[in-house]
């Protein structure tokens, strides 16, 4: 690229210098308006080739027996998708050829309520991941998605008897809760949000719908497991969870995919509604294969006295754009975000969070850890926004990065936007390496260098792993161990 081109390209980014006023209004009025500016001058961006046509979308809609409103919603989203640009600020996604992505892959089976009925090869894939076993032992319910469709869904009886609804999105669209789905679907993450939200709106398939009635406390976690098996495919599951007033839920999401030599795309969408005095914990261990473009959007809206807890581990993917966002709308709403990102060879993982404080006395607490190794790039990106209405809001961010060698990269790009004076906003960040002194200290007790380094890294990750159920913490530590092996000189 010539200097002139560099300059030209740079100059034309970000035409809207201060559209933040509109954003505040959008938040205050609800969240159904565009939150991102996507009207940038088109000529300066490379355009993704259109791999999607209205015909394809029509076909998806027909096969899925969408209600008419959903059919229209998809077409509208498609139109937006074709008009919007890919983001200019994050990791490159040039390797993602939209025209080559088979956006809809349907496994040759209908959804089952019993593992025995799930086809052998799919079952064995989930068996290897320990899903059925886990269900018996410590989960309230399990949903398993294979490529584009949910292949298995089950809820333990005692949870169902509490009135908890846990079903696949397709059934929810036409079932007892159809009106509720229509009321909430993509209202928190509108298709106008960004290009991949629009794509999601057009081709979404699969995912889960959860409704926890007022006052119901689900004592053990629900889990969805997503596996993308088809080569060069996209997965666009939609997760909609409504935790009604005073209710309590822990939801676990796991993701994996085998490695193909062509790019896969995951553009899921998670919308979480935490009503008055309700609590929701949403835990994710993401271990997509390292050719995955993970462009996932997650957002939560928290009402008065509600509490949202995110626990997020990012280990897989080639490229990730992942920033779970929490809108603290009600008075005293509270959010805690705990995340870890481990970027190894060939990975460019751009993760972080956004906290939007609207209600009085809202609080947010962010703790993140990131690691970079073998040329991996990890970026922590965040925004804490304190709106003028958020009197007495408190926010505290602590992000730590560990560089494991000098061919990798680690960036920290936080933003704080404070528009009221009686808020208390704190931010701490630290970047560094494993201290030689600490390694020597551990070695002086007879521990090998490799083991000492691994122990220090596990300790570094501990604040995140201790937030996970034991089985998942073990899985995470295992992933860290795998990543650390081979880095030893």
């Amino acid at each position: 690229m010539s200097d002139a081109e560099v300059k030209d390209r740079a100059v034309h980014f970000d035409p809207a210098i201060d559209n933040s006023k509109d954003d505040i209004n959008a938040y205050l009025e609800g969240t159904d308006r565009s939150l991102y500016d996507f009207k940038d001058d088109e000529k300066d961006f490379y355009k993704v080739k259109e791999g999607l046509t209205p015909e394809i979308v029509d076909q998806i809609s027909k096969e899925k027996h969408d209600p008419e409103w959903m059919h229209e919603f998809r077409l509208k989203s498609l139109d937006l998708y074709n008009r919007m640009q890919v983001p200019a600020w994050g990791p490159p996604i040039d390797g993602l050829h939209m025209d080559q992505i088979v956006t809809y892959v349907r496994p040759n089976t209908k959804m089952k309520g019993s593992w025995d009925e799930v086809p052998e090869e799919i079952k064995s894939a989930f068996d290897k991941l320990g899903i059925p076993k886990a269900e018996h032992e410590y989960l309230a319910g399990v949903g398993a998605q294979y490529d584009s469709e949910l292949v298995y869904h089950n809820l333990q009886d005692f949870v169902a008897q509490q009135g908890v609804v846990y079903t696949d999105m397709e059934s929810a669209l036409t079932g007892e809760y159809a009106d509720m789905v229509k009321e909430y679907f993509m209202k928190l993450v509108p298709p106008t949000d960004h290009k991949f939200a629009a794509l999601h709106g057009a081709v979404w398939s699969g995912g889960s719908f959860v409704y926890v009635p007022k006052g119901v406390k689900v004592s053990i976690p629900l889990q969805s497991y997503f596996r993308l098996n088809a080569k060069g495919a996209g997965q666009f599951e939609h997760t909609l969870i409504i935790v009604d007033e005073g209710a309590d839920l822990h939801f676990i999401e796991g993701c994996s995919a085998p490695k193909w030599n062509v790019a896969n795309l995951h553009a899921g969408c998670v919308e979480l509604y935490v009503k008055k005095n309700a609590r929701l914990r949403y835990s994710t261990i993401e271990n997509w294969s390292k050719n995955m473009y993970n462009l996932n959007t997650k957002r939560a809206l928290v009402e008065e006295g509600g509490r949202m807890e995110w626990v997020s581990g990012s280990f897989g993917s080639h490229v990730s754009y992942l920033y779970p966002t929490t809108i603290l709308k009600g008075k005293g709403a509270d959010c805690e975000y705990t995340g870890i990102t481990f970027a190894g060879k060939g990975q460019d993982l751009d993760t972080g969070t956004r906290m939007v404080h609207i209600g009085e006395n809202t609080t947010s607490l962010v703790t993140t850890k990131s690691l970079s190794k073998d040329g991996g790039i990890s970026t922590y990106r965040s925004a804490v926004e304190i709106m003028p209405s958020a009197h007495g809001a408190k926010s505290s961010v602590d992000c730590q990065s560990l560089m494991l060698d000098n061919i990798s990269r680690s960036d920290t790009i936080p933003e704080m936007d404070v528009r009221v004076n009686d808020a208390d906003v704190g931010h701490e960040a630290k970047i560094g390496r494993i201290s030689d002194e600490a390694v020597f200290y551990l070695m002086s007790r007879g521990i090998s260098e490799a083991e000492a380094r691994a122990m220090i890294v596990s300790g570094f990750a501990n604040p995140v792993s201790k937030e996970l159920p034991l089985e998942y913490a073990a899985e995470m530590n295992n992933l860290i161990k795998l990543e650390m092996e081979g880095s030893m000189s």
Binding site: D3, A10, F13, M403, I413, V420, A423, H427, I431
Partner: protein
């Protein structure tokens, strides 16, 4: 006197557009009327020389001294970065292009190798009842020299006008240079104040800025820590009132081994003030053994202020230690209570705290007259002594 927009204060690494911090678009005058009065002192000392040159001579000279700097385009893994200058500055290339056009001439100041002039060199720009001016300085600190340059911008309290300043600093091996800029301009001023510095081995660049005046103020400083063991200290005190705007961009690019960078910001916002601060520590590959630290402490006095802070750390070297911290909010209740038990009213206590913050930056300015002027300016803002 037409106006045009230029883009300045680019964040070295893009983030979400909607935050409005990736850069700033500002209007600038294409023709300037009525220059400010310049009073210089301290130039008669041994080891200090100055000369007036054309703008292109000054730029070419600065570029030639900054020859060690690689021209950069992209940071690995990030989509775009705005770095088209050979000699990087805080405000960026469009500002350099602009000021090169509007400034009539430029000044080069040289400090001879090993010279240690006792007094600071002081440049006082007095805009009086109102004026437009643009100035370009190139400051060359010879090897192992030690010197201080103080640049004051002042006008009558209610005056309006426009000021654009570009300062490029080259520090030779072991040179120590303090550059101090104090903005006490009237409430109708737009000021763009740009600084770029290149620090060679073991050089120590200390940049101190007081941003107290003006309606719209845009400042930036980019320090290229090319030499090993070079050190950069950036201390900035600011106070923004009424519906004024302050937009800041500071970057230290740490390339050499064992370099040190330290940012310290103390700010106060009141009324409907708007402020954006971008401060970036950029650890480049090869900067092993380097440390960087940035701290911002902002006091918000009114519920109508807007404060944006973007403390960035970019890192492509393992053996570094980088930290940043920010604390944004009002005076702590405990502190206020403590001061009230000593018989101070809330208002007086608040002013005391504001003064304390700004004073921590101000007290290192080695010129009594300037310190007095700052004190008087702050008193006037709060309507008390």
């Amino acid at each position: 006197m037409n106006e045009q927009d230029i883009r300045i204060n680019h964040l070295p690494c893009l983030t979400w557009n909607r935050l409005g911090v990736n850069h700033r678009s500002v209007p600038v005058k294409s023709g300037l009327e009525g220059a400010a009065k310049l009073m210089e002192s301290g130039l008669d000392q041994d080891g200090i020389t100055s000369e007036n040159v054309t703008v292109s001579e000054a730029e070419a000279y600065a570029d030639s001294l900054a020859h060690g700097i690689r021209r950069e385009k992209y940071v690995a893994g990030k989509t775009a970065i705005y770095m088209t200058q050979a000699f990087q500055t805080g405000l960026g290339g469009e500002f350099t292009d602009y000021i090169d056009k509007v400034a009539g001439d430029a000044s080069i100041y040289r400090v001879a190798a090993n010279a240690k002039p006792a007094k600071p060199v002081i440049l006082n720009y007095d805009f009086g009842a109102g004026a437009d001016d643009a100035a370009i300085h190139v400051i060359v600190a010879g090897e192992n020299s030690e010197s201080t340059f103080l640049i004051n911008y002042r006008s009558d309290a209610d005056a309006a006008g426009f000021s654009a300043v570009g300062t490029k600093v080259i520090l030779g091996k072991g040179a120590k240079l303090n550059l101090i800029k104090v903005n006490l301009l009237g409430s109708g001023f737009e000021q763009l104040d740009d600084t770029g510095a290149v620090a060679e081995e073991s050089a120590v660049f200390s940049f101190r800025q007081m941003e107290l005046g003006g309606a719209e103020t845009y400042s930036g400083c980019y320090v290229d820590q090319n030499g090993q063991k070079s050190e950069a200290y950036i201390d900035s005190g600011y106070m923004v009132s009424e519906d004024h705007t302050l937009d800041l961009n500071y970057v230290t690019a740490q390339r050499g081994k064992k370099t040190v960078s330290n940012f310290n910001f103390k700010g106060v916002l009141q009324d409907r003030a708007r402020k954006t601060l971008r401060d970036t520590i950029d650890f480049r590959n090869g900067s092993a053994g380097s440390v960087g630290d940035e701290q911002e402490d902002v006091l918000l006095l009114d519920p109508t202020v807007v404060n944006k802070s973007v403390p960035v750390i970019l890192c492509e070297e393992e053996d570094v230690d980088g930290r940043h911290g920010a604390s944004i909010g009002r005076l702590s209740e405990d502190m206020l209570y403590y001061l009230e038990t000593r018989g101070l009213s809330e208002k007086v206590a608040t002013v005391m705290m504001v003064r304390g913050r700004l004073h921590s930056i101000e007290r290192e300015i080695p010129d009594d007259e300037t310190q007095n002027a700052i004190d008087a300016f702050i008193s006037e803002q709060f309507g008390m002594d």
